[in-house]
Structure formats: structure tokens, C-alpha cells
């Protein structure tokens, strides 16, 4: 959060099908979206980790989140 997301704009533009422009304001909003997404992902992974009685989040926890969404 304190750091910029390097190359976020580039990746979005790369993945967009057609030609697209991105304003600097919307770039900030994109960062917001990613942060929110990561936040909820981390939260969900944390609950699953707790279910497994583990204080550490592991890859299988995150995968479960993805599958059982």
C-alpha cells in the first residue's frame, strides 16, 4: 500500500482486448480495487487457515478460497 504497484497500468492495458487508455485517477482506483481484492482474499485465506488450526497461511488455503468461492 505504501508502495506503488509497479506496472499496474501496463498489465491492464496489456490484458485489455482492444485499445484502452487509463487516466491517472482511474489508475489510482485500479490500485484501490486490487488492494480491496487482496484484502478480502487474505481474510478468507486466514479464516481457512484457522479452520485448519494453523496460524500460517499456506498455498492450499488460498487455493481453497479460489475453488470454494
Amino acid at each position: 500500500m505504501l508502495n506503488k504497484v509497479p506496472g499496474l497500468k501496463k498489465t491492464i492495458r496489456a490484458r485489455a482486448k482492444g485499445h484502452i487508455n487509463i487516466r491517472p485517477t482511474s489508475e489510482a482506483m485500479l490500485e484501490l480495487v486490487t488492494l480491496l481484492f487482496l484484502n478480502s482474499l487474505a481474510e478468507e485465506a486466514k479464516t481457512r487457515a484457522f479452520e485448519d488450526k494453523s496460524a500460517t497461511i499456506r498455498s492450499n488455503h488460498i487455493r481453497d478460497v479460489l475453488l470454494n468461492q
Partner: protein
Amino acid sequence: MDNTEDLSARFILGQILSTEIPRTPMIPSGSTQAPSSSGTRRSSRISGRDAGAQTPTDIVRHSMRRRISQSITQKSQPAPRRTAPFVRRKPRSSASMLFDDEQSPRILLKNILMTENVKSPLVHEKTPSGEPEPPLASSSTTNTHHSIELSDLDLSDLTVGNVISTAKGLNRKRPRRSLNVTAFEKRLRGADAEAEERSNEASSDISSLSLSSSTSLSLKTPFVDVGTERKGLQRKVSQRRKITEEEFGAAVDKQQITGGTRFLPGKQDLSDTTHCEGFTLGLSKLSEPDVTTDILHCNTALYPQPDAITSDLSVMATQDKLTVAASQIQKDLEEREESMRESEEELNKVQSQAEEEGDVPDDVSQRENEAVSRSEEEVIVSGINAEEEEGTADSEAQENIEAEVVVFDFQEEVVESESQEEVVVFESQEEVVVFESQEEVFESDSQEEVVESESQQEVVESESQQEVVESESQEEVVESESQEEVVESESQEEVVESESQEEVVESESQEEVVESESQEEVVESESQAEVVESESQEEVVESESQEEVVESESQEEAVAASDSDEDEDASQTSNKESSSFHPEPDHRADPESVADGEEHVDKAEHPSEDYPTDFKPRATMDSSSQFEEDGITSGSNKDDGKTERQRSERLDSNLELISRRSCQSEGALVVPIVQEEDLDKAREGLSEVKSKDLGSNLEMEGDENMVEPSNPEQSDASDTEDEEYPTEFSPEEEEDEEDISSKTPAFVRAKRNFFIPDPSDSPTVFKDNQASGTTQAVPAAKPKRARQVKKRSTARKALPKSYLMTVFRHFAKTKVASDVYPVLDEIMDKFFDRLADDLETYAAHAKRTTIDVEDVVLLLKRQGYVNDKVPVEVLIEKYLRMDQRRLLIPIATSGNVVIPKIRK
């Protein structure tokens, strides 16, 4: 009759009558006073009555009524009030009474008394506190006075006292029964003293008083029965209520004014009791307890609030979960730690064993014995594998070690084998070996094919060995793939990759080169931590080029040595020189171009600052590469004995060219690959180099540069080329003349660079190339290179690992294992794909080609992050940095300026 019993009544009446007359003037005026509704009514009644009353009794009655009404209305005048009740009662009672109002004064008095009882509060007020103990006798007398003015007080006192006394007894019980006269009288007598005390007691006094009064009346007069009957017939209730209506308010006021004067205790009590009966009791029984308790507990809600309860419960629950989880987690951690320790120990054991075994092959480093060593190593490796497997654990080290222990495979096999072999080979280089092996393993794991595992191994071996055991290991570099082409055993002393090994130039040159190479290797040891494959490739290329040059020069060892010394300085010049060697047949150019392409590819893919100048010379290398090729061919034609070397050189050069050209164009790759196929097995190294180069960084390129110039120079100025080789590979090379020296440094560099950028891509490819030390590797390298290129372009991660892990850890707030990164990457990939898709759709829907803030806001709404309760601004404030916030949320500054400008 009643004289004895009800003295008070008669006395009162008599006194009233006696004193009443002079009070006539009050009749007209007093009657009209009626602030209270009841008073008005009564006054009206009274007035009505007055009109018709003519008889003395009537007159008396009327006067009484007036007084009562007056007393009621005029709080300050106790006398009228006193009379009021009498008057009021009079009419009421008279109305209700069966008897005529004009009946005997007894009736009147009775009515008066009855009314008086109800008027207890008034009585209180009126009666001064100085009459705490009006005796019955006196009370009777005084009551008569009361009737007029203060007589009311007395009267009321009496009655009140009587009533109070009786009422008190009844208060507790709240009975509505008729009292015994005797009991009543007793109370009367004994209650005077207590009148004051009870004066303040309002509860149930009224009822008792009324009861007592009625009873007293009833007892003493024939009306008693009637009264009692009437009482029982609800008269009291009706009367009481009427009184309460009037008197309640008055009584309350009185009480408020006078904190319960003892003067009119009875009355007050009466009034209080009257209304208390109706209200207080009910309240206390019904609502008060609930209300009071609720008030006490500050819980005035209409219904219980489950939130507090549930919240508490939830908190408790969560806490419990956490505590439980924590305890469990601790247990797990402990268990894991133990397992880890065990595994680590095992690993260490295995490593040590591997090292020991590695010594064996080292001893037989001679290429001649390589085969034997290989076999031995294989055995050892297998043994190590077994041991290692026993200690399997989470650590990757084990995997690496196992990989290393795997039998040496010159050909495509598990990439891990490379690392294993390295471990075996490198005795003292435990750390380095492990490290490198790990790296290789890591790369190999991600790679699809393990073709160049062998070559990689060799390279790694050469590298690591050189570093640690500069002088010694170098000479005895044991190449797992110990190519048969090793020409000179002496040269073999140094680390020679599969390709270059065979082509070891010459002892002399080798020695010198070794020295320089060793130096370089030492320098490069640091960089070896990276891509291994690329380095190996580079080295191979370099070695090849070097070899070629050497061969062409036919023993340009000295030159090579000198070149190595110059190294960097001459790199550029050499490059230029190489460019000068353009006159070469095309067939040469092809491999050269290929090599160049490779190098270029490497450069392009992994731009590094190490060899910025290499690009330029490389550009010219194409032609030179051709020249190199020619040189190679020529070289090969030169000496049969040197065919191998030449071939190796060609391979090297080809590899270089390929690597150089790879970046330029994939076609170039194809060409050289094809051409390489034509070459002998010696091309294995080339292919390896090619593959390595593809994935290598500039280090490779740098090496390539050195190689490139060396290649073109092969045919001609071997000296310069040699110089170029070493110069370029100065940091890394200088083991086996050109081959070894060039290969190792490049290899090391390549390795390093390789690992950093795309561990998942290039390593596999490179390793595959290396492993396949056959012609197959050549064609395979080409497609792999192409694949690598494509992969690299598409394999770019959306977010760097550091950033991603940092943010995730921050949001997770708990420990996060580092193995989540790949999964996270995957997820972020998908996320960005969908995000871009959605935003693009939204913008297109709005007929825009620019993603706007509102598009993203719409997305957030759809996802549920933004809703009525959570506006966007809240999220912005929460998550974004200041510079971003400033963009999004307008901030007013001085000068009537708002930033950013709000566009509407």
C-alpha cells in the same frame, strides 16, 4: 344513643349550627368559588340548593356546602375547605342517601364526616401542626369550631385523627371491611398521639379513614348500618373517587407545599390514601416493580436488546476460537519444527556424503576416466539418493541434493540430476554446490524438458569448482559429461563444459588461461548465484569461440592467455576486429548469426548493464559470426586432430552466434540450429549454449561478445579473438583456455541472470538443452529458444513478488508461508484478466476508450465493496496513499481553487 359513641358528630354539628349562622355572608360569595371543577360543580349544587333551602337545616346545610366549596377552592383558607368537604359530602351524601337532606342533623353530620374523611389532605393543611393530639373530647369541641373556620381543622383533626388512626390500622391491610366501633374508638383514643405520625402517611389512610368515619358514624347513629351498607354498596368508591378527583390534586398540592404537615394528617392521609388506594397500590403491584427495576438497571427499552448479549457471545466465541487455534497452531509448529530439524539433519548428512563421493570423481577428473567416474558417481549418486530420500522433508535442499545425486546424465533427464552431479563433483564446495544445485533444480523444475541437464551440470561444475578450488579444481574439473572430444588432458584440468572439454585447446594456453580464468571465475563466483544455465551456455559459447579461435590459431595459447589478461579492455576492440572478419562464406555466417542471435536474444531478454557496449559490437558480429563459421569450417578442415576442437569451436561459435542472433530474430535461431545439427555431436555444447544464451542475461551477452569476436577471429586474428574471449569473460572465464574460461564465466553469469527474471521459464529450457548433448539438442534448443522467447514475453507477472507478498502479508495479519506466491500469482493473473475485461466493457458501453473513475466505481459497486453504507470515498481514504487520494478527492485550497478540478 349516639351521644356516647359519636360525640364528635354531634358536637360538630352543634357547633356548626351555632357558628354557622353568623356566617351567612359567605353563602353567596363562597359558593361561586370554584377553581376546581369539582368545586364548581359542588358550588353550583350548593347554589342550587341554596336557592331552594329555606329551613334552618337547609340554611345550615347550604352554608356548610359553601364553606366546603370554598375550602376546596381556596387552599389558603383551610376553613372553607373544611367546610367544603362537608358541604360536598352533604349534597352527595344527601343525594345518595336515602334519607332526605332535611333530616336530622345526624344525617348531616354524618355526611359531613363522610366528606371530611375523604378530605383528609385538606384537613392536614388546615390543621396547624400545633394540634398533634386533639383529644376526642376536645376534638369534638374543636371540631365544632372547625366547622366554621378553624373548627374545620378541629373537626378534621378529629375525624382525621380518628380516621387516620383507624386508617393506619387499615393501611397495611388495605381492607375494605367495616370496622368495629370498639376498635375504632380505641384507635381514636390511641391514635391521636399518632395522628401526626400518620399524618404524612397517605397510603390507605383515606380508605381507612373513610371506613372508620363511616363506621364511627354508623356505630353511633342509626345510619351506621346504612353507612356500612352503603359502603359495601360502593358508595365509598364513588364518593371516594369524586373526592379523589378533587382532593387528589389538592392533596398533592398540599403535600407539595407543606411537606406533610401534621396538622391535617388525617385528611392528608385520607386524601392520599384515597388516591393511593386507587393508584399506588396498583402501581406498586403491577407496574412499579417492573419500572423500578428497569430504571434501576437503566434498561428502559421496550424490548430486550439482544445485541449486547449476542455481541458478547460472539466476542467470546471468537476469542475461544483464537485461543484454541493458537494452542493448536503452536503444537503444529512444534511438530513441524521437529520434522524440519530432522530433515535438515538428514540433508546435512546426505550432503556430506555427497561431498565425499564427489571426491572420488574429482580424483578421476581426467576425462579419460570420466566415464569411470561417471559410473562411480552414478553409483554414489544413487546411494546418496537413497540416503537423501530417507530424510525427505519440506526443504528444497533435499530435493536439490537428490537431484544432484541423481546419476549423471549426459542426456536429457531429470534436471535435478544436474544439481546432484554437481554436488557429487564439488567436494569442498558444499555450499556453492548446494546453492547452485538448488538453483538448477529450481530452474529445472520449472522447465519443461530436461535436455541440457548434462551440459548445465558441467557448466555448473566447472564454475563452482573454479571458484573454490581455483588452482586445483580447475585443473581437475570433472565434467560429468566429460566429453570424449577432450583433446588434451592438460586442458581438461580446467572446467570444461561438455562442449569445450573436448576441445581443450592446449596445455600451455590452458594453463595460462586457467590462471586468468581462475581469476575471473573468482570474480564471477558471486554472480553464479544466478542463472546457471545461461552461464553454462555462455561459457560453452565462449569456449567454443575460444576453441575455434585457438584452433584456428593452432595453438594460440599464449595469445589466449594474453587475451584473457586483456579481457575487458580488448573486448570491444575484439568485437570490432571480429566484425572485420567478414569475408566468410555464408555457411559460416549462419552459425555465427545464430550465435549472434543467441547472444542478442539473451541481451534483449535480459538487458543488463554489464555489457552495454556489447550491443554495438554485436551488431557487427553478424557478419563476423559468419566469418566465425567459416573459420570454424576452415578450422575443422585444418587438422584432423583438431576436428574435434574445431567442431567444438564451431559449436561454440554457433552457439554464440545463435545466442546473439536469437534476440534479433527467431529465424536466425532456426538457421543456426539447423546448421548446428549438421555439426557433430560437439554441437551439443552449442545447443546448450544456445539454449542457455536464450535465457541468459547480458552476462551471457557479454560473454557472447567475447565469444563472437573470438569466433570471427578464429579464422584470422586469433590473437585478438583470444583476447576478446578472455576480456569478455574476464570475470568468469580463464579456466580452460578459451573454452573453459569463456564458458564458465558466461555460464555463471547466465545462470545468475537466468534465475532472477524467469526462473520458471528459461531454466527448464536451458537445462533441457544442456542435457541433450546430442544433435537432438540442437534442434530442440531452437524450438525451445523460440518457446523461451515467447514464454518470456507472456510469462511476465502482473505484480512483482516482493510487492505482492508484502501486501498480502499486511492484509493477512498472520504468518504467511512463502509458498503461497505461485498461487497468488495465478490468482492475480486471473484477477487482472477479468478486471481489464470488465473495465473495458464498461468503458465501451459508455462509448469511451478510456477507463474512467466511474467505471471502476461501478465495478466496486457490483462487487459489493461500495454500497449505501460504504461510499467510495471511505474506501479511498482507507486504502490509498495521499498522492492518490489527492487525485481522486477534491481538496480545496486557498484562492478558491479546488484540486483536482471537478469535471462535470
